[in-house]
Structure formats: structure tokens, C-alpha cells
């Protein structure tokens, strides 16, 4: 069940109506918990036990570590949480990758190696909810958060369906307090949520799903395409990933908003970032923030020598790459961005912290976007041979002759202009002052236009695989 599917609308319609009909906060939370488990179970009910295990372990580990002042015991309970959560993640997501990689290395060294990989499916959303539960335990360990007394709240925090399968990674410190008080429908910005949901739908079903066949066509046989096609495909894929993932985030935020819960934003115009550091502060904000707070800063952050900071950046970005998927391509993606951030860090040390503006700023935006776009080759290329072909294309060494119609840039350019107008705040939030009947009429027109431009078969979200 994905947000762009008709059955999700049916599901959500029922949950929305029941939720606001129930009188007590407790009843509503039980409804949301059951709905969340149904939502996840629609993919594969067998993996519900993983979510439940994570929930139980973190609930009790956090309670235990909060109950004692003995640092050794506290560390032991934190370790329990880390080992169980990362162990499950490692088993389901990384086990085969590490076994394969070890096997290849040992084979290269002529050392006999016998260990079989496991035939296991990757549970959808495991990277997201694992990071979410980890943040709970770590925040309590750091005494930034009091453990929740309610197991129901804990279960709902881990499994709340709007963010369960592809984020945003919601932190307990933001979400748990919202579960304590009953909200009222009259306090919900319904119009804003509906607009946000439709914008998310537009990004996913209209933009992302429309350009995806062209990108698939290129990456399925990229040796046949010329160099310009490599650039067009990587650019289009960068746009697709943005439209896809930010679209999902918008719909998740809007869905939660309609139920009276607030999530922070997950994207903030990343393509207008003038450097890579700014880009990562604006792209997948909930993950970037998580990595900053729980990895980069504990590693030492940016306090220290240039080499020390660059090491921290590299570790953070490589692990960020690995978070996205178990494969060397993701690790290379991390290296690529870690290297880029390192270069930017050195530049800033040399030239100061002043941000580029005007024409220089525009050029910086272009360079930053291009860096991100070409890094997408690591993400999308299905295998190493294909990756090499993409890079040959990006370096204008491709021998293929097939092209991608450059007219694909027209809709992308139109979207970029809309995006820029919005970035500059030229488009006001018109719905706030529009009478409800007029808003509803306009919304109906917009919904129908979106449907007419949607792909009939909803493609899964790109970030589901992570």
C-alpha cells in the first residue's frame, strides 16, 4: 500500500473519520496503532515481529538505563539497544553484502572460504525505524529525554504509519510529547495539509513516474547511448529522486498533519544550495540531522585539525551511503560526497565562511547540483559495467549513438521555474485566505488534472528499497 494508490485513500479515509470520531486520546492512539500494523502488514505481515521486537527492546532498555545512575549499567543497556537494532539491520540488510565481499576478497587471496548467503527479504522501512528507535535510546542515555511510561505510545512512535516505511525519521523527543494530549480537528490546518498532500502526489505520480521510464531505458542499456544522454539521464534521475522522495515526505507530513500530528520538514530547496554542506543540510533533513547528532558530532565534529574534520566527514558520508543500501556503489557514493564535503571544508577554511551571492551564487548552485546529479550514477547504475559506461558518458567518451530526446528538459525546466518562484516566496499560500467553497472547487480541478497526468500504475517509491 503506497500513498499514491487508490486503496491508500480508502484506508486513510476510514482511519481519518474513525480517528476524529473517537472521544479519548487513548482510543485514538489504539486506532492509529492498529492501523499502522495493518498498513505495514499489507506488505508482509511476517516482518511485524521485527518492529515489535525493536519496540520492546528499546522500551525496556531505555527504562532500565534511565532507572540507574551507574554509568557501566547505563552503557550496558545502551549497548543492548544498539546491538539488537543494528544486529537486526545488519542481518536483514547487510549480511549477504559482507559475506559476498569477504568471499570475493578471500577468493582473490586464494584462501578457501565457505559460507553461504541467506535467502532473506529486506523488510521495507527497516533503516528508517531502526534509526528512529536508536535515537530514542541514545537520547535517554544522553538524558535529553525522559522514557515514556506508556508502551502504547512507544509502539505508536515506532510504527506510526505515515512515516513508517520511508521516513521522515521522526525523533522521540519531537513525537512522544504530541501523544500526551488530545488534539482537536478544528486546530488542524486541513487546507494546508490537503495542498501539501496534492503537491506530494504531483511530485511523485506526475513528475517522478513520468520521467522514470526514460531513465530506466537509459540505465538498462547505457552502452548504446551517447555522452549527452548520460548527462541527461543523471540529471533526470536527480530530479526523479527529489520528486519521488520529497513527494513521499510531503504526503507523510500531510497525512500525519490531518491526524493532528506535526512532523518537521524533510527537504528545504536542496537544489538551490550553493555548496555541498548547504545541500546536505537541506536534503533528507531528518537523516542528515540524525547523522550529524549521533555520528558526526560524537566523532569530534568540526572541532580539530583539517585532517580530523575531513576524516569525520568521510566516515559520516560513507556510513550515510551504506545506510542507503548494501553495495559498493553506495559506499562509493559516500566517498564521492565525503570527498566533496572535504574539499568544500578546505575551501571555507581558506576563503572564510561568506556565502557566494549573485551570479557567482548561481554558478555555485549549478556546480552543486551537477555534483549531486553525477553522483546519482552510483545510485542508479545496476552493476559495475553499467557504472563504468555512465562515467564514460559523463566524461564524453561514450561510443554509443542512441540519444535521449532533449525535450525532456522542457518539463524539467518548467518545474525548476515553479520551484524557484516558490523559493523566492513569489507564490503566497493562497489557500489560507480563500473561502472554503472556492478552495474546494479549485482543489477538485487540481486533483483531476493531477490524475490525468499520472501514470496509471503507481511505481514504488525509490526510497522504499532503503
Amino acid at each position: 500500500m503506497i500513498f499514491t494508490e487508490f486503496r491508500f485513500l480508502l484506508f486513510f479515509g476510514v482511519v481519518f473519520c474513525l480517528h476524529w470520531m473517537l472521544r479519548t486520546n487513548q482510543q485514538r492512539k489504539i486506532l492509529l496503532l492498529v492501523s499502522s500494523y495493518v498498513f505495514y502488514g499489507a506488505w508482509d505481515w511476517r516482518f511485524l515481529f521485527l518492529i515489535f521486537t525493536s519496540t520492546v527492546v528499546d522500551y525496556f532498555a531505555a527504562a532500565k538505563l534511565h532507572a540507574t545512575d551507574d554509568e557501566k549499567k547505563r552503557k550496558r543497556w545502551l549497548l543492548v539497544s544498539l546491538v539488537v537494532n543494528l544486529g537486526l539491520l545488519g542481518l536483514f540488510k547487510y549480511f549477504n553484502f559482507f559475506i559476498d565481499s569477504a568471499g570475493t576478497l578471500l577468493e582473490y587471496l586464494d584462501i578457501p572460504f565457505q559460507m553461504t548467503t541467506l535467502e532473506i527479504l529486506l523488510p521495507v522501512g527497516i533503516s528508517f525505524y531502526t534509526f528512529q528507535t536508536l535515537s530514542y535510546s541514545i537520547d535517554i542515555y544522553r538524558r535529553n529525554l525522559e522514557p515514556t511510561q506508556s508502551f502504547l505510545d512507544m509502539m505508536l512512535f515506532v510504527s506510526f504509519f505515515p512515516q513508517l516505511v520511508a521516513g521522515p525519521i521522526v525523533r522521540a523527543v519531537h513525537f512522544l510529547p504530541q501523544l500526551l494530549h488530545k488534539t482537536s480537528l478544528s486546530k488542524v490546518d486541513i487546507k494546508g495539509c490537503l495542498v501539501l498532500f496534492l503537491i506530494g502526489y504531483f511530485k511523485k505520480a506526475v513528475v517522478s513516474d513520468t520521467i522514470s521510464p526514460t531513465i530506466d531505458e537509459y540505465f538498462s542499456n547505457n552502452a548504446a547511448f551517447d555522452s549527452l544522454a548520460a548527462w541527461i539521464a543523471c540529471t533526470l534521475f536527480a530530479v526523479q529522486v527529489y520528486a519521488d522522495f520529497s513527494g513521499y515526505s510531503d504526503m507523510a507530513i500531510a497525512t500525519a498533519g490531518l491526524l493532528g500530528y506535526h512532523f518537521g520538514r524533510n527537504f528545504a530547496f536542496p537544489f538551490f544550495a550553493r555548496n555541498l554542506a548547504m545541500f546536505w543540510r537541506r536534503w533528507h533533513i531528518s537523516l542528515s540531522g540524525w547523522l550529524r547528532d549521533y555520528l558526526f558530532i560524537p566523532l569530534g565534529g568540526s572541532r580539530g585539525s583539517a585532517a580530523f574534520v575531513m576524516r569525520n566527514l568521510m566516515i559520516t558520508m560513507v556510513l550515510s551511503g551504506l545506510w542507503h543500501g548494501a553495495g559498493w556503489n553506495y559506499i562509493l557514493f559516500g566517498f564521492f560526497h565525503g570527498g566533496g564535503l572535504g574539499v568544500h571544508y578546505l575551501w571555507r577554511r581558506w576563503r572564510g565562511k561568506e556565502e557566494a551571492a549573485g551570479l557567482v551564487g548561481a554558478v555555485c548552485c549549478f556546480v552543486t547540483f551537477s555534483w549531486f546529479a553525477i553522483s546519482m550514477a552510483f545510485f542508479r547504475a545496476p552493476d559495475n559495467e553499467s557504472l563504468i559506461e555512465v562515467w564514460k558518458g559523463l566524461c564524453f567518451l561514450s561510443s554509443g549513438t542512441q540519444t535521449i530526446d532533449p525535450r525532456w528538459f522542457l518539463p524539467v525546466a518548467a518545474l525548476a521555474i515553479c520551484h524557484w518562484l516558490s523559493y523566492r516566496n513569489y507564490v503566497p499560500a493562497w489557500w489560507e485566505k480563500t473561502p472554503t467553497w472556492l478552495f474546494a472547487l479549485g482543489y477538485g480541478v487540481a486533483v483531476e488534472l493531477c490524475l490525468a497526468f499520472s501514470a496509471p500504475v503507481a511505481e514504488p517509491f525509490v526510497y522504499f528499497q532503503f
Binding site: F6, R7, L185, S186, K187, V188, D189, G192, C193, V195, L196, I199, G200, V206, T210, P213, T214, E217, S246, D250, I253, A254, H262, R265, F267, A268, F269, D405, R407, W408, P411, C418, H419, S422, Y423, N425, V427, A429, W430, T436, W437, L438, F439, A440, L441, G442, Y443, G444, V445, A446, V447, E448, L449, L451, A452, F453, S454, A455, P456, V457
Partner: protein
Amino acid sequence: MNPDHLVLDSRSESAPAWSWPRTVLAFLCFTVGVLGTTWGIHQAYPVAEHSPYRQKRSLLAEAQPEPDTLFFGSSRILRHLSPAVFDTTMAERGIETHSFNMALPAMMTLEQESLLALLLATPPTALRYVIIDPEEFLLVTPPGQLRTTRSIGWHTAPATWITLQELAQSERRLQQKITGGYEHILACVYRAFHFGQLRTQLVTNKLHQREELPSDQTAPSGRGFMSLDQAYEEATGEYRERLEGRKTAFRTDLAGYERRVDTLRQSLMNSDGAFENEFAVVRRLRDMIRATGAIPIFLIAPGVGHGNRNYVRQAHARGDIEHLIDLAHPDEYPAFYDPEQLFDANHLNSHGAEAISRELAHKIADAVERGELPRERTP
């Protein structure tokens, strides 16, 4: 209007409180907005023709000499009826024909009706015979497969209603009926609301250069026909693997195949199962073809995996259709059920295709000689 600017905090205190009348009014206005826009889109861009239909129709329009005989149906027509063999055999019997294979894989009866309506709106001028193999009414598809442009295209409200009735009366499990019914209703809703229409017409059709129908299905050199083993020889990659899988599965389970043939024999003895809607569709197919001045010849091609099509036999017995050639009898036509002549359980190989094309030509020539079918086109 970008969501990156939206901060969904609670509404301001000055905003009006929620109320039933305002909600009902908003819902009505929303409905008016949706329906008004739907109507506008329908006026500007009527339902798009599925691209493979367009490809096949343009091949038909380009075919020389102009076809006067069309083969229509699913893959059992596409992979079985060779226009070259048919025309040669007919010529040997003294009847000149120029046939063309218009079949497409997995084309069920109601979809045939929709394609036939498109095709016969501007039929070849010299059309004499239309040989049509009405398939089953229900297609076994995994969820989601019905939400393609092709499927949405034929899900008009009447066609969907017939499908739902067929589904309800079928022997499928309740869960299959519910999920299948949901998929068909969804396809109908998508059609009604022009789901993907503008995308297809304004973006995809203009910017996608690739053909949507594989060359073995357009098969211009075979006048729309290519046997499955020939297609297998030419296929590459995943498609070849798929065909290889089908071929191997058939070869390794010949006992299973024999059991299916037995089941078919049993079903031929069972005369129940048809209902009035099915006869009505058959009559519509017949009338559409007749309206072009051509003779409709109904055919039941051999195969074991498509259930029984007794409704066509019953329609013939009732007099709804005049000409029926029934080749789906394992005892009467053992060659078409001989594993040596088959590519997989439901499709003949090149030899089998040649044999059935000849058989069909002879059957038609016999009917012509008996005076049951006209030799020339009836004005």
C-alpha cells in the same frame, strides 16, 4: 506554493471553526471541480488509443495488397494463423485472399470488442472475411496489471459490469473475486476520470520514441504473424528467458499437459455455464463485422489453458452466429494437441501453426464451395 515553505502548525485562532454545512458545501464544490474538469478533458482529449493498437492498425493500413481477410483474437491467433500459408492454401483452392493477422496477446472478448470497434470505424475497403476467436471474459492477471493504458481503454462501464457479473458467477475463490472485482472497478474509475490520459497524449506519446509492442508481435514481414518458436529464436535477454521457461516447463511436465487435455475433453461435454450477456457480446461482435460488409467467421482455436468457451458453441447452436469453425477438439484434431506440434501448452510451434492455417483455409474453402460463404465481398 512549494511544500518546502509549508509549515503545518495549528491554524490561527481567527480561522472559522469546523462545521457540517461548510464541509458538505466544500465536498459539493470539490465534486463539481473534479467532474467539470473531467468533462473538459474528455472534450479536448477523448480516451487515447492504446499504443500497440495504433502500431498494429498502422501496419494494417500500410499492408499491400490491401487485406480483405482479418484474423482477430489473442495469442492463439497471433501465434497460430499465418497469412502467407492461409493465402497460399486458399489460392490452391481457387480463392484469392489477402489476409492480415490483427491479434494481440491476452486479448479477451471485451477488449476484442473495443479494438474491433476502433478498427472497423475505418475498415479496409475490400474486407471480406473477419475470422475472430472470442476468448474468455476473464483474464487471470496479478494485481496492478489491469491498470495499464491498454486495460483502462476497454473498461467502459458496460464492459466492466459484464466482467463483474462473469467474475461473480465464476468458480474462483471469494478472495480472488474480491481482489479481481476491485481491480476491474478501479480500471473503470481510471477510465472515467481520464487517469493518465493527458500524460499519455501530451507527454509520453510525444517524447517516447520506443515501440511499445515487441517486433515479434507487430511482425510486419509476416503480415502480423510470427510463430512462438520463431519469436523465441529472435528474442534476447529477459524475454528470451521467459519464453525458454515456458518451453522448458511444458517439456518437463508432459503428463500434466495430458491431464489438462483430459480436462478439456470433459469440459466439452458440459454444456452449462453460458449466460445471456455473453451471447449479447457475441451478437455485437457479429453485427459490428457485418456492418462493414464483411462476413464474421467465429473460430475456436486449440489450446488447453483458456477454460471452455462453450458460450460460443451455444451461441452458434442458438443461431446467434452463423459460421463457427471449432478446432478445439483433441479427439477430432489430435495433431493440434500433439506435443511435437506445440511450443508450450497453449501455443503451436511453426509446424503446428502451418498445419492449423492450412486447416482453417480448407474449412473456409469448403464452406465457399458449399455455398455457405460468398466467394467475393458482398456489397
